[in-house]
């Protein structure tokens, strides 16, 4: 099955979630894991608001919220 460029792009964003969501066994990211992902994978996308994720030990970022944060980063870099 030959994916289009857009499908491969979406797949890449999904794979990062799975790759970093270790503690949550691919179901959620912890704020620390999200921070690591942002620093390592989104160095040029500027400020992704991690603070609003609450308690670093408790907060769990599920795929939907992760995708929303990627959307924020995307909106940020659209204006550039």
């Amino acid at each position: 099955m030959e994916l289009t460029d857009v499908e491969r792009a979406i797949e890449t964003v999904i794979n990062q979630f799975h790759c970093y969501a270790v503690k949550g066994q691919k179901e959620y990211l912890t704020p620390n894991e999200m921070q690591e992902l942002v620093v390592q994978k989104l160095p040029h996308l500027g400020k992704v608001r991690i603070e609003c994720m609450g308690d670093p030990d408790e907060a769990k970022l599920e795929f939907g919220e992760y995708w929303d944060m990627m959307g924020d980063a995307a909106k940020g870099c659209r204006r550039k």
Copy 2:
């Protein structure tokens, strides 16, 4: 500036919006433009719910909503 693979992926998803948002001069997609994008660029991602976009002539899909719909498609293909 060398983008990471994830940044290039996000850029690809953004560029599709700009590429198809002709009538809205890159500010919004019409349901017909979104339909075209889905058919041409997301053939394998299965059903992206276009119907909920309302009146095909009036409805305007801004970037945030477009990104959310991509998220729905992503969630759909995560379960596969």
